[in-house]
């Protein structure tokens, strides 16, 4: 199968959907001729013109709000938010307007829009260009949240997101834009709420989101060499969450570590761990462990920044201890 970059996968997904459905359009800063600073959207303006690939002023709340209004009245906007960190600027339009309109109107109005943005540290971009803020969005009922872990997921989830009748937020890991993975030539969609068991195992379940799936897979390799069999699962969407697959896995392995690049406290890892505790408690042989980013603003210095994100070695070390019956956080 051909291999393409995550960036190309996103581009292909959007181009295919724009060809299929004339109501789909793109808006954001420097999305047209520049194709975004990450060049993810290069070439789209040549095919679809500036009517459908719209360069906006630097007015995040403004164009986010406009996307909500366009979506409510029959268009399917894709909003490009240059950095995930800027989500704080659009919170009202996303969480008070987009997320609640369907409910507040008693089901009469819908808001089919996609907000694509990014996440991920270790790009030496410091505290305001490195955050992974998916937990903030996942907290709000009415929003769906997808976290592609490779080019394959990036394409299939994007196409599903564009066809979904709800506001969907897609967090792409900006360090993965150049990573290649096999992507079929034929059209495919990846349904929301269906986790992917990337690797089967017996002794421990490693649940990772986005780039943390790769971290979990590398940890599983390390562990395999030591005779520990780790199962790796990618939920692919955190809202909706495929609880069933996660719970079934933990019932089998009786141990789990949840890994996500958002801050650990009050985060995605906490939510998933808590559901496993509630729903698989009697099957567990060890506490479910959370591994998120450190609870510090992301530092600039590489010497510090690299300490803030979970690594395969740390995941493997924690898995080893859980499998040996050691308590990691003994009271």
């Amino acid at each position: 199968m051909r291999e393409i970059t995550l960036s190309q996968a996103v581009n292909e997904a959007i181009a295919e959907e724009m060809r299929r459905d004339p109501s789909v359009f793109l808006m954001g800063e420097d999305v047209a001729e520049a194709g975004t600073p990450f060049k993810v959207l290069s070439g789209l303006v040549e095919e679809f013109g500036t009517e459908r690939v719209i360069d906006t002023p630097i007015s995040e709340p403004g164009f986010m709000g406009m996307a909500v209004g366009a979506a409510m009245t029959g268009a399917r906007p894709i909003v490009d938010l240059m950095f995930g960190d800027f989500i704080f600027l659009i919170m009202d339009q996303l969480c008070n307007q987009a997320a609640k309109t369907h409910y507040m109107s008693g089901g009469k109005l819908t808001v089919p829009l996609v907000l694509r943005t990014n996440m991920g540290a270790t790009r030496r971009s410091a505290a305001q260009h490195s955050q992974s803020l998916q937990a903030l969005v996942a907290h709000i009922p009415g929003l769906k949240v997808a976290m592609p872990s490779s080019s394959y997921e990036a394409k299939g989830l994007m196409k599903t997101a564009i066809r979904d009748n709800n506001p969907v937020v897609i967090f792409e890991d900006k360090l993965m834009y150049q990573d290649k993975a096999p992507v079929p030539e034929e059209e495919y969609l990846i349904p929301f709420g269906v986790a992917n068991v990337k690797r089967e195992g017996r002794d421990i379940t490693l649940i990772g989101t986005s780039s943390m799936v790769q971290v979990a897979e590398k940890a599983a390799e390390i562990l395999a060499a030591e005779g520990i069999s780790a199962e790796v699962i990618d939920p692919r969407t955190i809202v909706p969450l495929d609880e069933k697959t996660l719970i079934e896995s933990v019932k089998k392995t009786s141990r789990a570590i949840v890994i996500d690049e958002g801050h650990q406290s009050y985060g995605v890892t906490a939510e998933i761990a808590s559901r496993l505790n509630e729903k698989a408690f009697y099957h567990l042989d060890a506490p479910v462990l959370r591994m998120g980013a450190m609870d510090v603003p992301v530092p600039f210095s590489p010497a510090l920044e690299d300490l803030t994100v979970p690594t395969p070695e740390q995941v493997a070390a924690n898995a080893r201890r859980l499998c040996a019956g050691e308590l990691i956080h003994a009271a």
Binding site: M66, G69, A70, M72, T101, G106, P141
Partner: protein, 325 residues
């Protein structure tokens, strides 16, 4: 002759709609005072000529966005009393199935995109609706209603900039009622409000919001021009709210005097003024208008009784409509 007849109909409909808003609000206020309505509500009484003058210039295909003070926009854009009172009381037959309440009330089928409890929260939505119209080659126009207080929100300036750059068919309708909550407009708004729109190259007008004909006349002209791609436009409508900021704001002399309220009610009331005009021009007699008023009051009383008896939503609805299918 034909023209005079259509004017007569238009005029009587404008009168009727203004009285319907006033009557709706009087009943809503009573429901609050008699503790039959959950929560609070913001009365539109006094500002009727604004919503009616503008919405009478629109078709069902045209959209509006409304505010926390939204009952007037809702009636003016074609809503019925029954489903409105049901919404106010949180009943299943409300326009939003009781999930929105007073601050989110809207009859979506007539192009009302919703009342909004975030001050200024719908400015993006209205402008986006206009962007959609332009992209899809549709000739509908969107009117964004908001208060003087909302002009302090940065969002307005972001979206006016884009609306002007892209010549969007949107009309920003600023209802300047002199107050944002308990604060006078001159204490929160520097300089001129219309000049802010003009700075973006947007044609701006200030009108007497208590004169329904003046409002309607301007709205018709601007809507027609917006349809032809000459938008956006900005209108500042000088108006006044008769009640407190919300129904519970009763002792309010610390921020505005009774004399000031009396002056607006006695000498500038939009309904009294228009009624006098209709009689003077021979469009209707006092008796005709009294009969119209009585009919509207009866209609409202029946709708209130209906809503009081109507069923609450079933508990199963609580997690319905979080996501669309």
């Amino acid at each position: 002759m034909a023209k005079a007849k259509s004017n007569t109909e238009d005029y009587l409909r404008m009168y009727t709609q203004m009285v319907r808003i006033r009557t709706f609000e009087d009943n809503a206020n009573q429901l609050y005072l008699s503790a039959k309505m959950p929560g609070l509500t913001h009365m539109y009484s006094g500002e009727e000529a604004v919503a009616v003058g503008i919405c009478e210039a629109l078709t069902d295909a045209d959209r509006i966005t409304s505010t926390h003070r939204g009952h007037g926009h809702c009636v003016a854009k074609g809503a019925e009393f029954k489903a409105m009172f049901c919404e106010l009381l949180g009943k299943a037959e409300g326009y939003c199935r009781g999930k929105g309440g007073s601050m989110h009330i809207a009859d979506q089928s007539h192009g009302n995109l919703g009342a909004n409890a975030i001050v200024g929260g719908s400015m993006g939505i209205a402008t986006g609706s206009a962007l959609r119209a332009k992209l899809q080659g549709s000739d509908d126009v969107t009117v964004c209603f908001f208060g003087d207080g909302a002009t302090a929100q940065g969002l307005l300036y972001e979206v006016m900039n884009m609306a002007a750059l892209w010549k969007l068919p949107v009309i920003y309708a600023c209802e300047n009622n002199g107050y944002s909550e308990y604060t006078k407009t001159e204490e929160i708004a520097a300089g001129s409000i219309t000049a802010r729109a003009e700075a973006f190259g947007i044609e701006a007008h200030q009108v007497d919001g208590q004169d329904v004909l003046e409002v309607n006349d301007l709205a018709r002209k601007l809507v027609a021009r917006a349809r032809k791609g000459e938008g956006p436009f900005f209108i500042e409508l000088m108006t006044y709210r008769y009640h407190g900021h919300h129904v519970g704001d009763i002792n309010r002399e610390y921020y505005r005097s009774k004399a000031e309220e009396k002056e607006w009610k006695d000498n500038r009331d939009p309904i009294i003024r228009f009624r006098a005009h209709l009689v003077r021009e021979g469009i209707a007699t006092e008796a005709d208008l009294d009969a119209l008023n009585a009919e509207i009051e009866k209609d409202a009383a029946e709708a209130v009784a209906y809503a009081l008896d109507a069923a609450y939503p079933d508990a199963a609805e609580v997690d319905m409509h979080v996501y669309a299918a």
